[in-house]
Point group: C2
Chain length 342, copies 2
């Protein structure tokens, strides 16, 4: 078979504001690959099926001189994110043609991988769409699952408040809380999201743009658990609306991301109410919950006990647009790019 | 014997800023008691020997309309705190004249108590001064001991930062940390306290009034544990100086007690560093550690393995001054009021 195009998404220039499709990232079709003959050198050839587009990618579109928790993208090289691919050929005894692997992929149609330890072979006996493994059964799902198991200390009959409860992580947390028998208060920023929250079991769903968080918590609290994605005044209201011994799980504080971290009032309630606040880094909990996650969660999804929503785009050419949509918040759900069908 | 004066300390008015001796609390000598004949009604008569004065008392000097973890003082009634007294007469079979009891006492020279379950009879086979049982072997000691055992997750070789490390709780925490093999950074507000910190094993002792906390933590951190008594900018510096997975134990935020609770910057580090912040209420941990405490701690004190210091005042008339000194931090050590010798 003749070489075929190996399309790629290249990081082309550092954005100053929002990323610009075609400027900060470009789709490049100049490279080809001979999938039958390309040298593997002990590695394996993967065809990319699905790629995740997440808010954190913007942080990597920076000057390499700026240090951060995650390395930068380099101009002229492909961007990368979590994805699932199918193995076409392999010289590694641990993986064979037809296996599906989950891990970090450069945004290319085909890649030759050398290090199997960086990937997980996905069995998928439940026949979930592969995109599930980069969302509800991937990093966002793990964030929800690990954090809930480690920090919530949830007891039946308790009340949890989840901010951004229509998001990929929040919606999963809501459903874990319902499985555990809790009353769930959820907030989001649109009426459409309020309806979605209700559909996944949120007992008290409200739009924080039109309804005062503090009043909701006064009426439906005190809260035993707060799952935070936003920080700011919502966190302050949660501290005020918390009950004795409440557990706060800090998954994000987006309210402070663009102003250097605003100061938080009401922190003194931590003592008077003996609140525990836990900062959640999913990677630090993987050793404890990862195997359990892959044993339990795909079945929960297959049985419909955990529902999820995706906003799917097709083709690597669309990545630039999706990156921008995620930054502007115009995506409708977890953003996924399907690069190829099997 | 004729009735004798039963002096009392009355909560007289709610302070707006610092408490004022003679205004917010007054010493009242208008009442008398006939210690030989006062009716016990099945209870027991206690002569107050020593009373503890602690930072938390300020929180009780509030409007009863403001709810909190601990009930308010009521204007016109005596204030109360932990103390030790000697039983003079008893109609309760569980306690006899000559026994020493530890518990919460109204600030009066003599009280008739009805409910023995609220007191602990102190054997004191180690012959410690009674004041020890309201300090190092009392509530402050329990606060340190329970909190350290429950929340520190201390590992040998780690670094702990203790603010107010010359205080009753702080000094105990320092010594527990040294027993566990940690490096200890301690702050306090005078050179005298710096010397005291060094004498109990603090490795890096500094005066926060003359030395920048942030710089100390940059040089001697990152910190694995922060034991907080002060909140405010010290807490902000500790968040900045914390290492991955640090544990913060919130025992007090005195910097905010007299200004309504200032907002705290840098809280976003909780996520990036996966910090856990635990609000410590000693009463919530008593069921777990109280018996162990009384088995272990008096012996540690008697053997000199846990040292302590007291700032003793004499007479109920001094309580108002001592309350203020504790809020201002001008006391030299654990504030104790000796009401009567045996």
């Amino acid at each position: 078979m003749a070489p075929v195009t190996n399309g790629r998404v290249i990081f082309n220039s550092i954005p100053t504001g929002f990323p610009e499709p075609g400027v900060t990232t470009v789709y490049d079709s100049s490279q080809t690959i001979d999938v039958e003959n390309v040298a593997l050198d002990g590695g394996f050839l993967v065809k990319t099926l699905v790629l995740s587009v997440d808010p954190y990618l913007r942080g990597k579109m920076r000057s390499p001189d700026t240090t951060s928790y995650s390395p930068p993208f380099y101009v002229g090289e492909p961007i990368y994110s979590h994805g699932v691919g199918v193995v076409l050929r392999s010289e590694n005894a641990g993986v064979k043609a037809g296996d599906h692997v989950y891990g970090t992929f450069t945004h290319e149609q085909f890649t030759v991988q050398k290090d199997l330890t960086k990937f997980r072979i996905i069995q998928n006996s439940q026949k979930l769409p592969w995109s599930a493994y980069i969302g509800v059964a991937g990093m966002p799902g793990q964030t929800a699952y690990y954090g809930w198991k480690e920090y919530s200390k949830a007891k039946k009959g308790e009340t949890v408040f989840v901010s951004t409860a229509a998001g990929a992580v929040g919606a999963f947390v809501v459903q874990l809380a319902k499985i555990d028998g809790l009353k769930v208060i959820g907030s989001a920023g649109s009426e459409e999201k309020v309806e979605y929250m209700k559909s996944i079991g949120v007992d008290v769903a409200f739009n924080y743009k039109t309804t005062d968080v503090k009043k909701v918590l006064e009426e439906h609290g005190p809260i035993d658990i707060y799952w935070d994605h936003v920080g700011g005044t919502t966190l302050e209201a949660a501290l005020e609306g918390a009950g004795l011994g409440a557990r706060f799980i800090e998954c994000g504080m987006i309210a402070g991301y663009n102003n250097g971290g605003e100061p938080i009032r009401n922190l003194f309630y931590v003592i008077g109410k003996s609140i525990t606040i836990s900062g959640l880094l999913v990677g630090r909990l993987a050793h404890k919950y990862q195997e359990e996650f892959y044993e339990v969660v795909p079945d929960l999804i297959a049985s419909g006990k955990i529902q999820y929503k995706e906003d799917i785009s097709y083709g690597l050419e669309k990545v630039g647009d999706v990156v921008l949509a995620v930054q502007k918040g115009t995506n409708k759900a977890k953003a996924v790019v399907v690069v190829a069908e099997e």
